[in-house]
Amino acid sequence: MKRTSLKYDIIVVGGGHAGVEAAYAASKAGLSIGLITMDTNALARMSCNPAIGGSAKGQIVREIDALGGLMGETTDRCGVQFKLLNKSKGEAVWSPRAQVDKRKYESYISAKIRNVDSVDLIRDEVVGVDVVGNRVDSCLLRSGNTIYSQSIIITSGTFMDGLIHIGDRKIPAGRMGESGSVGLTSSLVSLGIQTGRLKTGTPPRLKKNSVNWSNTDIVFGDESPTPFSFSTKEFAPQNIPCHTIRTTDDAHAIIKKNINHSPLFSGDIGGVGPRYCPSIEDKINRFSHHSSHLLFLEPEWSGSDQIYLNGFSTSLPESVQIESLRAIPGLESVAFYRPGYAIEYDYFPPSQLTSTLESKIVSGLFFAGQINGTSGYEEAAAQGLIAGINASCCVKNIEQLTLGREESYIGVLIDDLITKDTLEPYRMFTSRAEYRLSLRYSNADQRLFPYAEKFGLSNLARSSKHNKKAQALKSVFELLSKPVSPGLINNKVKEPTSGAQLIKRPEISLESFQSNYFDVIKTPFLEPWERSELLHEAFVSIKYEGYIKRQNASIQKNKKLNLVKLPLFLDYLSMVGLSREASEKLSSIKPETLGQASRISGVSPSDISVLTVYLKNK
């Protein structure tokens, strides 16, 4: 702790992945930031799996990096195994992922944040938010202090009235071993903010020496690893393996026998859990025709004696967890550092937010991360970053940043959050992005760097490199527009054909071009991985050109709808011509634009025409 004062431009509540990105982004605007956390030694803690990235999430991390966030560079520094997923499934879904050393990750980010002069770390607990008019004014701390601020970003994760379940044991907590936070929810409710309850879970952590490793299969990462950050230099990470093991009939039988001891089945847990990350009891119950499920044994840090058992999320009693795992060859004498558990927590339905993550009813109040009903470090970090950028715009009273669905996964994420019902914790999937073909990991900087510059999130070195890279990409396109001499292409070409035309043929890959074909493109400012990614990016954008053109009509239509602003307090209930469901949904969500309205479930195209006519006649 450097110092505390009673006044900051921005207060960030919580020091998880959303909180640190928010504070870091806001600090770039030259504002003073107070980051209040219950444990200043647990910044950016990876409380669940020891991995960052993966399908859709990898793209998000690239986007965070393009906007100057911390997650990409930190993962590159702390990763112990890197893999580009989906390499055989089409370039638009190629997604980088890394196994990460959790301890290193925490300390890297902690050092980053502590090095920023304008961010103060405050060890305390926020128990209330006060407003003047409809604008935030201050927050009240457990210690009794009051801190004044023009903007407050709530990023309190699963800590709000958190309740851990292990069998029928219930422990009030924020995470295992960390106490929860009580009081803030009711304070926010008194301001008119609605709340709900969600649930998530985590698997047991095993003692490394209790596993018979000879019974496991070994999985390494890629030999030529793909980093996350556009700034990473001299990238040569470790390649520590993970191991896999399969559940057995015997293990399933033990779980089935004890299934009524799981709070998920006994009805003890009211919150809704994520279907994409089912507990082992859920998997066995719903997919009883699968005789075996794959489990991953992942080291939590480099040289870790603690193993994360990915695929075995559970809230069964600890004794049942142990008993069933011991029925798996290789785990006969398994011992835990801690059991798997489920946690229920308060969230604030994000349809109460604008597309900049600001509350629609309390100005200056922002929400980001798991309390918005999302799951995942990447989703949380992305929201934190956007909330941090926008809170600083809010303080400076300048236009805030809204990213479009057509330009980023982060845009899809936030737009989905504010227009869709949260039925379970929200996780990003590539199929949520209707313009997926253009949202590639390899063009995240091209898509978002202009915003980084506009909002002061970049620096001179980055800008200059970005411009040189853009120039190089242009040269690649120019080269490819010219006929390829037959000696430079491995496939037979009868008549003079441009590189671009060749690329559109299904049998042509980047490897079809002789290695010296691209020699005329000089890129001394790029790392080797960056250069090959640049060529790859040129290749893909030509290959997908036709499909992307087909998307554009819909993008244009969407953009038009997004430009039509809706007053926040329209009387939808008395508007003639809307379906009953639409008028109810619209008056509860209060969309900001016609585009958002059109994406609310229950609002049909005919309701949108009614709104259009209404706005014209107004």
């Binding site: 055989s88 998997k283 997919f287 695929g311 590539t430 199929s431 997926r436 073909l437 011509g577 009953r580």
Partner: protein, 447 residues
């Protein structure tokens, strides 16, 4: 639909009759109905009960004894509260009832507004809603039967089934893209492929029904053409069973086209009697000839009428039937010889009304590809046809370049989604959530 706005309209045609029906829909329907009743009325209106009641003018004078039925929303045609008043069929009573309803706060319904509200409130889908109008305007029993099936959702149900197969196929691919970390799973891809093949087959069957579906519901245009004075107008009269066209012995009597409606074997047919085709200097007549040729080109079927067995009949095409009129003028032997040589010529005598029903059967089989079964599902509008055509074409492309597309499963998913989006023009949009739901429900996801 926001039912703050309560609408009213007579549901039966204008004119005198035994009964007439006035209908209201909206939140205010029940309140307005109670205002029509005398202040002393104690009989409550019960959902789906027909109640005999006296309705009074705003001054309290008796107007008519009527039957009032309440259909409470959302289980009503429009999904809102509906009041139906069956009154005596006098235009004066009907218009008074409607104007009192307006006085009590209703608005006169726009044309088709009851059905539009049913659509907006999700009681009917687009295919069903457009069939309601066709049903009302059905000109034959078979057309009505077909439209009833469409209103009841036979086509919609089929499309729902096809859409869910497409979503299943897409979810198999999305599982590969979003969840699975292994190489593409051949078995899953094969399942997707066969699902798409089965949907393509049904699309192609549906497309084949459009011709007949259109003819049955919208009716057909059948042109009577031929040299002057071969008896086209006489035949038209015989087909209609009444003297519709003026006939005479002088060639060139019909100088303009004449249209007349009839029902042939359940198909509504518009017969078009044309001016005889011949070289003429008469300006009016030659204009008629030009129109005749146009009519033939745009019609569904042409009857080429001849009255001379030396006529060269080899010009016929599938859309044309050669009809030898005035069969009574030839000897049996001459006729037999001619008909043996030209087995697709029908011989009739229009003036004696001989072989007219045989001719009708031939017209019917010329118009329809298959025998009409009201139980089958037909495409009936050009919108349905063009949407299904696009979907079919999309699937054709996907299936024919399957192996290439497998190298880029993201593009494959894009193409399948495109087909589903196209189908959305008939059924409303499919969101990414629908697909993800399918992925979560069908597969064991998550490490």
């Amino acid at each position: 639909m926001h039912s703050k706005d309560t609408i009213v309209a007579p549901s039966t045609p204008h004119g005198y009759g035994g009964l007439a029906v006035v209908r209201m829909s909206g939140d205010g329907a029940l309140r307005v109905a109670n205002k029509l009743l005398p202040k002393t009325n104690t009989t409550p209106l019960i959902n789906r009960f027909a109640t005999t009641l006296l309705v009074v003018t705003p001054d309290g004078d008796p107007l008519d004894d009527v039957v009032v039925t309440l259909f409470s929303g959302p289980n009503s045609y429009t999904g809102e509260d509906i009041i139906e008043i069956s009154c005596h069929g006098s235009p004066a009573i009907v218009s008074s009832l409607v104007s009192f309803c307006v006085e009590y706060g209703c608005r006169i319904a726009d044309p088709g507004e009851f059905t539009r509200r049913a659509y907006i409130n999700g009681k009917l889908d687009l295919v069903q809603a457009e069939s309601v109008a066709s049903l009302i305007h059905s000109r034959s029993l078979d057309a009505a039967k077909l439209n009833v099936r469409l209103v009841r959702g036979s086509l919609s149900n089929k499309l729902v089934e096809l859409r869910s197969k497409l979503i299943k196929a897409l979810s198999l691919i999305e599982f590969e893209l979003d969840v699975s970390e292994d190489e593409l799973d051949e078995e899953r891809l094969n399942t997707a492929f066969s699902l798409l093949v089965s949907v393509r087959e049904i699309f192609s069957t549906l497309l084949k029904t459009y011709h007949d579906g259109r003819i049955i519901t919208s009716g057909a245009r059948v042109v009577l053409s031929g040299e002057p004075n071969v008896g086209k107008s006489t035949l038209l009269n015989a087909l209609l069973g009444k003297n519709r066209a003026i006939t005479s012995d002088a060639p060139g009597t019909t100088r303009d086209t004449i249209e007349a409606y009839s029902v042939v074997g359940g198909v509504p047919v518009c017969f078009v009697d044309t001016a005889g085709i011949r070289e003429t200097n008469n300006a009016i007549e030659s204009d008629g000839v030009r129109r005749s040729i146009e009519e033939i080109e745009t019609s569904d079927f042409t009857l080429r009428i001849i009255d001379n067995i030396s006529y060269p009949v080899d010009i016929i095409n599938v859309k044309t039937l050669v009809v030898l009129n005035k069969s009574d003028l030839f000897s049996q032997k001459q006729l037999k010889l001619f008909l043996n040589k030209h087995n697709n010529v029908v011989s009739i005598s229009a003036i004696r009304e001989q072989n007219i029903s045989l001719l009708e059967n031939k017209i019917l089989s010329g118009l329809l590809n298959d025998k009409f079964h009201s139980a089958d599902i037909y495409l009936t509008t050009s919108r349905q046809n063009s949407v299904i055509k696009d979907c079919h074409g999309g699937l054709e492309n996907i299936l024919s370049s399957w192996n290439v597309l497998l190298a880029t499963a993201d593009v494959l998913a894009f193409e399948i989604r495109d087909v589903i989006d196209n189908l959305g023009f008939l059924m409303g949009p499919t969101t990414p959530d629908t697909v993800l739901d399918k992925v979560f429900n069908s597969f064991c996801v998550g490490k």
